[in-house]
Symmetry: C2
Subunit: 396 residues, 2 copies
Amino acid sequence: MPTISQKGNKMPESPIRKLVPYAEDAKKRGVNVFHLNIGQPDIKTPQVALDAVKNNTLETLAYVRSEGSEIYRTKLANYYVAHNISVAADDIVVTTGGSEALLFTIGSITDPGDEIIIPEPFYANYNGFSTASGVTVVPVISKIEDNFALPKIEDFEKLITKKTKAILICNPGNPTGYLYAKEEIEKLKQIVLKHDLYLIADEVYREFAYDGLQHTSVLSLEGLEANAIVIDSVSKRYSMCGARIGCIVSKNKQFIATAIKFAQARLSPPTYALMASEAALDTPKSYFDEVIEEYVERRNTLIEELEKIEGVKVATPKGAFYCVAELPVTDADHFAQWILEAFHHKMETLMVAPASGFYSTPGEGKNQVRIAYVLNKKDLIRSVEILKEALKQYPN
Amino acid sequence: MPTISQKGNKMPESPIRKLVPYAEDAKKRGVNVFHLNIGQPDIKTPQVALDAVKNNTLETLAYVRSEGSEIYRTKLANYYVAHNISVAADDIVVTTGGSEALLFTIGSITDPGDEIIIPEPFYANYNGFSTASGVTVVPVISKIEDNFALPKIEDFEKLITKKTKAILICNPGNPTGYLYAKEEIEKLKQIVLKHDLYLIADEVYREFAYDGLQHTSVLSLEGLEANAIVIDSVSKRYSMCGARIGCIVSKNKQFIATAIKFAQARLSPPTYALMASEAALDTPKSYFDEVIEEYVERRNTLIEELEKIEGVKVATPKGAFYCVAELPVTDADHFAQWILEAFHHKMETLMVAPASGFYSTPGEGKNQVRIAYVLNKKDLIRSVEILKEALKQYPN
């Protein structure tokens, strides 16, 4: 028998996806499952994007340019400029989702054995991309008690070795919903400049900043041009997760030229999705106003309801559409599986993502789950009610 | 300044894509450029696939299952069964193009430093994917004089080391157009079974077998279930290169489970493209009959015209839609750039892919180019005429 690679064996199962078969079994038993496990919003995609694809007149569905068409990158640059991020079309490489943007970035700046420092808990798939690239994630722990604020600068500095190539943040944060203050980004700037590191910011939730707070892009800081890399995607901004269009943005020309070589090897981003993404840039501001208002209401509802449950601790998110909740259980992985496999409340149950997969430190987050508030208020209230019942009945 | 990775520096430029800026400059000067550099056919995508997307009623462009929807994989399994390849939905992982299928496959079965043996010349992007994965391509040379037939078994065996994990073939071959005989696949079977290797076959050109010859899939051989991996894609079959939907097919359950972990990390293949791909499976047989007839005519025209030029040597392709031609020049890279940069014939020129990028042995293929016969007969005849003129005028 030929063998599986060490890398393949080490690849983590996705905490967001691994319980899907249990949810499918529950559905087969007639149980309705509320999906709070994945950042798949029920929000409608802007009509202008849907229409662009419906009205397309393509006769041959051809490749587009590997780094994305010039027209799309130019329109996208205008979007960034409107968000106080001064970049041009040539600073952008269009990718197949934020996922590929991260993969190309890691490939361009790290070799196997290199290290990337990431505040923990972090987006679970960072583990997957790092493993696939042979890179070690070095976590710096942020705490639920501190609302997952940026750890102290000293905590970062003591982790930097000769193998450290970058600090990676997600801002606003998945799974924490934490929005970094400008001062925090400034602190990171000082560290990366001092140690010649890249500062990679996954800013796919840029628009989702609440309570009047401002998002600060790493590309908006002067003097960080050679170090700052933004990972972006249309998935959350326009509720078009299925498009799979993202991008890398950086003023570092050598880095962009390298990323383009990775892009050329896979030929082309998906053409229909690029069409939708280009049109989506014409989405009216009113769309975002409504969406943000909806998410703030959902967040308030979710946090309020969760805080009513005894033993549940929750950090208040200031952005994105996730929260991390600590549950009165010892093994949230087991609990999350149990509510799908062995529990229902009036033929309804819910699916959450166990938080352990969002940590790389063994044992951390064992009693936490990530909840995505991607469903309407009524469903959220019902979901928390089910959670409460489940916690009552859970035997462990 | 933060640095680029060794891997990033080593990433090859795509021989198919690297001359694109020169072609764009030529167009800016008003020169018409015939694109024979890339496997982007002018053939129309089946109407049934185009219509599925045009008539979609999605309101939220959502993720699909990481390994592809069950309904698509089931329909796809039926397609394989109809091609004498006995597989089920669970033997398939849907990917973002054949490119991603190869990347997940390499990730699942190799670690950095491992080796994959590939008959040379080979599809240029195999170099890119190998470099990105830290894997060494070990070439076994096939010769234009032999029409690029499979090298002798002994040639393979003497290259096998402890680090060898797989033999990778492209069948029908890109860039050679070579179609492996059943006996050749049987020989490869003996080697991989003897040495516990995987046999990866890129079969994206399965339908494009000419002159009454039959394509033999590695999945159709008994006893090869644990070793055979097929890389596939809708790009060429349905002339929908821009879809970016491919798949991995294997009866090796452990391998498939590993590939799914890679798929989960990037969440979802592109949804619109999946819709088009699912509908494309209903393409009538008449579509393929016409397309194959068209390609055979194009091939005959191209080879006939090329053979008229003194000093040009060409292997006759039996499948796919490429041929490798040896030109009376010493540096085909320079020549290919020169015809875009400094030459035109009546304000027209052409773009070909220098073949050196399809070899990993330094110096091989220096006087060869790959020509894709993806344009209509008239354009092909005109292209060869331009080539002839260019060879006359070329100063080197």
